[in-house]
């Protein structure tokens, strides 16, 4: 390999080798991270708009249409699901997110913040166990039997899905 980058090697050869070496990086950049919205299986909705998702996760909407209370679940800090949720849904830093919920409770608009899930397994079991629960998870971590919602009419596996990053 060092020999290929020898300064004496022909320019064309060096360019070809460089392109070949960067291909894997290009591939990674193109691989999209997809955030799925999953809910308790009995939840009465099959899809939401992007605005509804924002409203729900900011606790501006606290009930499903059948008047079941929405229970927000969120992964613990540093997890991929949380990082993606903060970037895409809340559009806040970790500190901003924390302050948002302390303020929300201080204003007596909610009695509690989102329930923090410390593992994928915990999240999977609770979203299936708690009526009205909703959770944001990376596409690769969608638990079995979870009900995945369409967002703006599209599932996470479909082209044009809004939470593909």
């Amino acid at each position: 390999m060092p020999r290929l980058f020898n300064a004496n090697a022909p320019l064309l050869k060096r360019l070809i080798i460089s392109l070949l070496l960067t291909l894997p990086c290009i591939g990674n950049a193109q691989a999209k991270e997809v955030l799925a919205v999953i809910v308790h299986p009995d939840t009465s909705v099959d899809g939401l708009t992007e605005e509804q998702v924002s409203r729900i996760f900011r606790a501006e909407q606290q009930f499903w249409p059948d008047r079941t209370r929405i229970t927000l679940l969120i992964r613990a800090p540093v997890s991929q699901g949380r990082t993606m949720a903060l970037q895409r849904i809340y559009q806040m830093s970790e500190q901003g997110f924390r302050k948002y919920w302390i303020s929300k409770m201080f204003k007596a608009e909610v009695a509690s913040g989102p329930r923090v899930m410390y593992s994928t397994g915990m999240a999977a079991s609770l979203v299936n166990a708690v009526p009205g629960a909703i959770l944001l998870v990376p596409f690769a971590n969608i638990p079995k039997n979870a009900k995945v919602l369409k967002i703006n009419g599209k599932l996470p596996s479909e082209e044009g899905y809004i939470y593909a990053m």
Binding site: Q52, Q61, I102, K107, R115
Partner: protein
Amino acid sequence: MLNLRPLLTGIVTTNLFFALSASAQTELSGDYVGLDYPMISAHGFGEAKYYSEALSGKKDVSSGQQGLHLMAALSDRISGFAEFSLTFKESDVHTDVERMIVRYDFSDYLKLSLGRYHTPIGFWNATYHHGAWLQTTIDRPTLMKFGSQIVPIHFEGILAEGSLPINDFNLGYRVGTGTGIHNNITVDDNAGHHGETDGDNAFTLQLYTRPSFIPGFEYGLSYYTDTVNIESEADHESDHEEEHVDEHAEDLELDFHGIDRDIKQKTAAIHFALEQDSIEIISELVYWEHEYDIGPKITNYGSGFYIQAAHQMEGRLEAFKPYVRLDKIKADHDDILFAKDQSFESVTLGVRYDFTHSAALKVEYRNEQSGDKERLNSLVLQLSIVLPNVFSF
């Protein structure tokens, strides 16, 4: 007028007691899985301040106000909120029940509650209030300061609130009736703590929008009316205040102390707030009208506003947030409701430094003038902390 205070205190205290008991029993049984009701959590807020004034050379260190905020989800529909404060003033400690609310949530459209609230006028009063850490600046705007004579800080009664997600505008409303808690007549007993005067028939209405397409933005309109009885407070007034009110009585050729005379208060406000990670802009405009309900017509008008802007720095300076605020209040010198001239203007420049996730140091320079008094320059430092989830179960 209906006095709900004893009833409210009883209801809330009883609810919280049973909630705590039930929760403790659940934990002991080992069946608690984290989503059972009741779910109770608490936040603590604390502050300490250093104040230095250039003109008089006055310097002071105080521990300010400490607060404890309790929240309890008693079921998926019923919740309770309580807030207690400790204020240290010289050698005295004052304890206050700032809020006590029990609420039933029918749906997003209607939530009905009973209790003692921060009056929903404008933005600041119900958003930050006693949580010094929550607000970027050291103190509230003068319109909402402690013992404010302009905005009735507290309100006791019944409140209906809800939201209507129309076209992503997220409209919200709060409407209530009950007793307005005014600090405008019985100002400052010897301990320096404000007294209270009850309004007879307070009515409050607030409409606001939090559009989904502008995260962190709120725009709202508020309206508040009340009838404040002056006579019942005459015995508590200081000599200066009594003299001030009597001047009005003389003008009216009425014997103030012999006549049960009320003042009708109307307050309207408009506010907008943009709170995002990097930028914060908050502004409120409050307009009021005070009028005697009987006798010759005397009406006072006044208005006040503030605008505050802050910017969170980026990169290595991201813990710093410089800010500026302009306050201005224009009031009649002899307003029939105010115990003293409320005219005020100030410029505040400061920096907030969040040195941990739960503590902030703020440094502020103020240039301010109250009424006809000399303009003051002062420097204030504040350490504020939040203890989130002091306990949560």
